[in-house]
């Protein structure tokens, strides 16, 4: 547990749980809000019970589109519209490249972190793991993929920032909703790099010793938990949940 133990692993677990609780509460609020709608066009508003949203969503997904030739299987929507995001590609290849790098980078790092976390916990509660799955070994195994996807994410973020700063039309239409989200993502990505660079001793010459690594990593992990999980339902992050659901409900959209 050395990696985190500038402050204890326990503290991190606690923050993880807080983050998840805040996330769940936000999702509850959103689903509750969505459930204030009706179950179909022109119908009276529902009773607002939380199941209404799910019921309406499932009905929309199942419903046949009245439009000629507008048929699409669930799997097509899932792969082409949600994972490959062809609707962005159709409109603008550069923006698609920006987004797919953010998407792939973020998703991969998120999943890696989840796996790491899982094995840390498994070890913590005393279950014997094969050597290859020991957190310390696993961290080394994952170091390269972690690096690769961090750079992929960084590329996307840089394009997004440049776009928002230097294209006047985009800049003028940027509101806090957009910039807070992008800024948060930037801080996380950069803090991840910095803590890693400290760990491998890149900053020793600048008077930052490797022992500063655990607090830096801790900082990165904490804000990641808060920003990448807790903040989702309250911000533009929400699109990563709502957008795929809209695409499913509308069969990939018009």
């Amino acid at each position: 547990m050395d990696y985190y133990s500038g402050i204890s692993f326990g503290a991190m677990i606690m923050i993880a749980f807080i983050a998840i609780a805040v996330f769940l509460y936000g999702m509850f609020l959103n689903i509750k809000k969505w459930s204030l709608g009706s179950t179909g066009y022109g119908l009276e508003p529902s009773n607002g019970s939380i199941g209404v949203f799910l019921k309406t969503l499932l009905a929309a997904i199942k419903e046949e589109s009245p439009k000629k030739g507008h048929k699409q299987s669930l799997i097509t929507t899932l792969v082409l519209d949600i994972l490959l995001q062809r609707r962005i590609l159709r409109r603008n290849p550069l923006r698609w490249f920006m987004h797919i790098t953010i998407f792939v980078g973020w998703m991969a790092l998120f999943i890696f972190s989840l796996i790491m976390f899982l094995f840390e916990v498994i070890e913590l509660i005393g279950i014997e793991l094969p050597l290859a799955l020991h957190p310390e070994v696993l961290r080394d195994t994952m170091a390269v993929p972690n690096d690769v996807f961090s750079y992929i994410l960084l590329v996307g973020i840089i394009i997004a920032i440049v776009r928002r700063l230097f294209i006047s039309d985009v800049r003028e239409n940027t509101i806090a909703y957009d910039s807070v989200f992008l800024a948060g993502l930037t801080i996380i990505t950069v803090s991840g790099f910095v803590s890693d660079w400290i760990r491998i001793g890149l900053f020793v010459d600048y008077g930052i010793p490797e022992v500063a690594s655990p607090p830096a990593a801790f900082f990165h992990v904490i804000i990641s938990l808060l920003f990448c999980i807790a903040y989702i339902p309250y911000s533009k992050y929400m699109h990563m949940i709502a957008a795929p659901l809209v695409l499913l409900a509308n069969k990939g959209g018009e």
Partner: protein, 432 residues
């Protein structure tokens, strides 16, 4: 402190639509395509993205985290009225939905929010509030007597007592632009496709009420839908044919929703029937367009809303002597003519502003004739043409186009003309 109540409610929005509001990523693609925003000097409030942002802010102030913790924050009346007026500038063309990167079904969203605003007392806009009363009382928006539904039919047209096909003429072809009705009927007669009409039993499709967010007022559209569907089913026909994009859209998309089931008949557009006849070489042409350049404007309600793009093109491409060309922005990405969504009635200047841009698209490909398959496009593109060329309305005439102005005409009138059929309506025939 007494808790305030939320300023807005969720009337008329479905649970999925409320989620759609939260899915918008503010990518701005829709803004680049919106015809109203473009025609109104890019007035920021008209951009689809901005409308979603404002409704989201109203929702958040009423139901978001802060509202949960500290009570809802009010939305003041001016802000709401401004939002409503902006929303009523939309023609419900739907191109914002076509290009939306997350696939939001925008047309339905605008219509649902409109209905919500009508219930609050903010909508509709201008003269649009007359529609429900008129259509309920007269069963058509032109204040005509239902008994006169068949008055447009001259003696030369044969209407079958019993047939497999029923022609749902619609109020506009029946009362207001009768040339469309007579041409459709004469073409069908000539092709030996017998058809019935509902006559007095044909009630307005209520497109205008649904598009302007007034479907709930006395349930006029629902009552009409039930009436029309039952009357058609009672007639025993297998197929209902439309020549009006507005009616076709209502029948295809809104009827099943309003009556809660699929109607037991097939819905086709006259273009489908004509294309089929052309494919089988069954149309005998008598005249030629003499090498004129013709282009096609997809009506939003037929194309983007219902997915009918191909058959009108097959017809126009095969008109004798036609040089068919495509303009910029066609099919799913078509640029709206500006008439829809109640804009022609509510904000006529805006409608002409938008249609003038569309006329420019046709000018750019040197079109001699711009054709469409919707009476509202025909009227509004005609007005746009008059605006751009500084002339006043001339009906299509193969022989007489002295100024070499672009002509705007419905596909069915061109077909009738080129099949050598009369395009004269009853009153013109009586004059002679």
């Amino acid at each position: 402190m007494a808790k305030r109540t939320p300023s807005i409610n969720t009337n008329n929005l479905t649970a999925v639509q409320i989620m759609e509001i939260d899915a918008c990523t503010r990518c701005g693609e829709c803004v680049d395509w919106c015809p109203t925003y473009d025609a109104k000097d890019k007035s920021p409030g008209l951009a689809p993205r901005d409308k979603i942002k404002r409704w989201k802010s109203f929702m958040d102030r009423s139901y978001g985290l802060r509202a949960k913790l500290f009570g809802p924050k009010p939305v003041n009346d001016d802000e709401m009225q401004e939002f409503s007026d902006d929303l009523y500038h939309c023609t419900t063309c739907g191109v914002c939905g076509t290009v939306c990167e997350v696939g939001i079904n925008t047309v339905e969203l605008w219509e649902s929010i409109r209905a919500n605003l009508v219930k609050r007392g903010n909508g509709p806009y201008g003269k649009q509030n007359m529609f429900p009363k008129l259509i309920k009382e007269y069963r058509n928006p032109y204040m005509k007597d239902q008994k006169d539904r068949l008055l447009w039919i001259p003696d030369d047209i044969k209407i079958a007592e019993k047939a497999d096909v029923l022609y749902f003429a619609g109020c506009t072809a029946g009362f207001n632009q009768q040339v469309l009705g007579v041409c459709t009927a004469r073409v069908m007669n000539k092709l030996n496709v017998p058809f019935m009409l509902l006559g007095e039993e044909e009630w307005c499709c209520c497109s205008a009420l649904i598009r302007t967010g007034q479907p709930h007022i006395d349930d006029v559209p629902k009552v009409s839908a039930i009436h029309n569907v039952e009357a058609i089913e009672a007639s025993g026909v297998k197929t209902v044919m439309f020549a009006c994009a507005g009616c076709y859209r209502v029948a295809t998309i809104d009827w099943p929703r309003l009556i809660g089931r699929k109607p037991r008949f097939k819905i086709v557009h006259i273009a489908d029937i004509l294309a089929d006849h052309i494919k089988h070489g069954k149309i005998k042409w008598e005249k030629s367009l003499n090498n004129q350049i013709i282009t096609y404007h997809d009506p939003c309600h037929l194309g983007r809303h219902c997915g009918v793009y191909e058959t009108p093109r097959i017809v126009l491409e095969n008109l004798p002597g036609a040089r068919f060309v495509e303009m910029d922005r066609i099919r799913a990405e078509q640029r709206c003519c500006g008439a829809g969504g109640g804009v022609k009635a509510g904000i006529p200047d805006l409608a002409v502003g938008i249609s003038s841009t569309r006329i420019n698209d046709a000018q750019a490909v040197n079109a001699d004739i711009m054709s469409s398959t919707c009476p509202f496009c025909r009227r509004n593109l005609g007005d746009g043409r008059d605006n751009v060329y500084g002339v006043t309305g001339t009906d299509f005439d193969l022989r007489d186009n002295p100024e070499n102005e672009m002509q705007v005409e419905d596909m069915i009138v061109l077909v009738a003309e080129l099949m050598g059929l009369s395009t004269k309506i009853k009153s013109q025939m009586e004059e002679e």
